[in-house]
């Protein structure tokens, strides 16, 4: 994002922590007051998501094993790796979407905002409201565009029509879809094109105002133009959201992410700055993969 545009942003102040290069500390101005983005009031260098020896099994089959990594706020973290390596599984573990699959059990810790989300008292509804998700295939509900976006807010008890309209507009603008659909919000969401549907799904996720946005290969079903738009969108969103994206497209990972994690066979091989992963990886497997020598 160009520097001058950042200056234009009136409600956000970006501060770079010089001691830790490339780790941005972000504060937001809400209701005229400045607040740190982290709930605990700590500086944002601390991780939003903290995974420690996290493993997940489907029955006797291992999904991911011993993942230990921190995901930092207000940045894009990419998870790359060959198919079947557990990257989607790990992503889906973060908002416990894996619960839908029978016979899943987990070990280790996965903390979001310092809370172990695999605690038995975890409130899944609250978790998923704060950790939104965009899926591989666009999955709009068979409802109107408006109803799709308004679904999340209405779950949180927003009944006021004007307020809903406001949220829908903002979310659609944020997802760069507003200009295209503003005239027919009542149209069925299924009538949109694939790229539009995916941006609608992003708008839908944004409307719930999550802190973390998980994206599971969001562009795999899209053409290059639609992919470009969604990548632009991620650039815009990264100043306010913590984005975790799973992708098998290495160029995409290089374009959009700040940090990248390489998964292989259910294990985390390497986790570092994206530039480092792609230019100078520490591990042999990573190098093989990013240079295309891996299957």
């Amino acid at each position: 994002m160009p520097e001058e545009e950042r200056k234009d942003m009136p409600t956000s102040v970006l501060k770079n922590d010089i001691t830790k290069p490339n780790v941005r500390t972000t504060t937001f101005t809400i209701d005229g007051r400045e607040r740190p983005a982290n709930l605990a009031g700590e500086t944002c260098t601390c991780a939003v998501i903290h995974s420690e020896n996290f493993s997940l099994h489907y029955g006797s089959k291992a999904g991911v094993q011993n993942i230990t990594m921190d995901i930092y706020p207000c940045s894009v973290t990419a998870i790359i790796g060959p198919s079947g390596c557990g990257k989607s599984t790990f992503l889906r573990s973060i908002n416990r979407m894996n619960d839908l699959i029978p016979h899943v059990h987990t070990e280790g810790k996965l903390l979001v905002d310092g809370h172990d989300i695999y605690d038995k008292h975890t409130n899944l509804v609250n978790l998923r409201q704060q950790v939104g998700m965009v899926f591989q295939k666009p999955n709009p509900f068979p409802k109107s565009i408006f109803d799709n976006v308004a679904y999340g807010p209405s779950l949180q008890g927003v009944r006021n029509k004007g307020e809903l309209q406001n949220v829908v507009e903002q979310s659609l603008r944020a997802a760069a879809l507003w200009e295209e659909v503003k005239d027919d919000l009542k149209k069925s969401a299924l009538a949109l094109s694939g790229g539009q549907q995916q941006r609608l799904c992003i708008a839908r996720a944004l409307a719930t105002k999550p802190r973390v946005l998980l994206m599971d290969e969001p562009c795999s079903a899209l053409d290059p133009i639609a992919t470009g738009r969604i990548e632009d969108l991620m650039h815009q969103l990264q100043s306010t959201y913590t984005i975790v994206i799973v992708t098998h497209n290495m160029q995409q990972a290089a374009r959009v992410s700040e940090r990248a994690a390489f998964f292989c066979l259910g294990e985390l091989i390497e986790y570092d700055w994206t530039s480092k992963i792609f230019s100078n990886p520490a591990k042999k497997e990573t190098e093989d993969y990013v240079t295309g020598r891996f299957g």
Partner: protein, 325 residues
């Protein structure tokens, strides 16, 4: 597209009033209890099917206990003489039990070859389009209420049989089993077709590549491979036939006798279901007669339960076989 950057940031993350990620029951007692009670309530409703089965068993058995305790089970199962209104009454249900099995098996003799041929036709011979035309025919056959079949048996088929074949009565085992065959066909066709088409193309291709014709492929490879499903289909068809009431009541002639010679379908027989349907109205409450009818119900229930278990077993095997292929 990038011109709405300012709007982007008015859409702030929900940081101002985050909902707690962890709620212990103590913190959210109402939500916790609602979820627990709701789940229990839903479970109870879902369990009502099982409850119904248990109630059916218990109540039908209870009503028959009076008869089973005061009368000889041996006589019930081994005597052919059914004279519930004589003095003293005789409750020998053997002829009736045999009658039930007799018409059902005769129905299967008609229905099974036809059903398997039709299943093969639907699964292997025709395109999806033709199949979509033929399938509703089978479904309509299944949908026609049994009393309408009975009506047809009495008013159309019986006079026709009497006229064309010179039977002494048109309401006989042949009539009943023909109609039962038609009624069992939809079940047999759909279950058999499912298991035949579940086998997948690889098996057929393997056989074709060995130079087999379609008939040989089907008869020597596909149908033997689908035998579990076909057995399940036959058992389910038998269940349908043995549990059917209206048709046999109306069309079988209701004579409690074992046909002699055994292959003579032109004789009248009587089935368990028809006996219950026909005599319940005349059997006074708490009488032995009513108990005997309930005992017939128990017998019927046991038969169908047994067949149910057999069919489930074969269906599970068919599923496994289909999954492998």
């Amino acid at each position: 597209m990038m011109n709405d950057g300012n709007v982007t940031l008015t859409l702030t993350p929900a940081a101002d009033s985050p909902r707690p990620l962890v709620l212990t029951p103590g913190q959210d007692l109402r939500g916790y209890l609602a979820a627990l009670l709701g789940r229990a309530f839903l479970f109870f409703l879902t369990f009502s099917s099982v409850l119904a089965v248990m109630l059916i068993l218990v109540f039908v058995v209870i009503r028959s206990l009076g008869f089973l305790s005061s009368s000889s089970l041996m006589e019930f199962l081994a005597s052919q003489s059914w004279r519930p209104t004589a003095d003293p009454p005789v409750f020998g249900a053997l002829a009736i039990i045999v009658g039930s099995l007799y018409v059902s098996l005769a129905a299967l003799v008609f229905a099974v070859p036809l059903g398997i041929l039709a299943a093969v036709f639907l699964s292997d011979m025709v395109s999806w389009k033709v199949r979509n035309v033929v399938k509703p025919i089978v479904e309509i056959l299944a949908a026609i209420p049994s009393v309408a079949y009975g009506f047809f048996a009495v008013l159309v088929l019986a006079p026709w049989l009497q006229r064309e074949f010179g039977f002494s009565t048109g309401t006989n085992a042949l009539n009943a089993s023909l109609i039962l065959a038609v009624m069992a066909l939809p079940t047999i066709i759909s279950v058999a077709e499912d298991s035949i088409s579940a086998l997948g193309r690889e098996l057929r291709e393997a056989s074709y590549s060995c130079g087999a014709t379609r008939m040989e492929t089907l008869l020597r490879v596909v149908i033997p491979a689908a035998h579990s499903g076909i057995i399940a289909a036959v058992v389910l068809g038998m269940m349908r036939a043995i549990g059917e009431t209206m048709v046999v009541w109306m069309a079988s002639g209701n004579a409690p006798q074992i046909p002699h010679p055994w292959w003579d379908l032109a004789q009248s027989v009587r089935t368990l279901t028809a006996t219950i349907a026909g005599e319940m109205g005349e059997a006074p409450e708490t009488s032995l007669h009513r108990g005997a009818l309930f005992a017939m119900g128990v017998l019927l229930l046991l038969m169908t339960l047994g067949m149910n278990i057999v069919s489930e077993y074969f269906l599970a095997r068919a599923k496994k076989a289909g999954g492998k292929a």
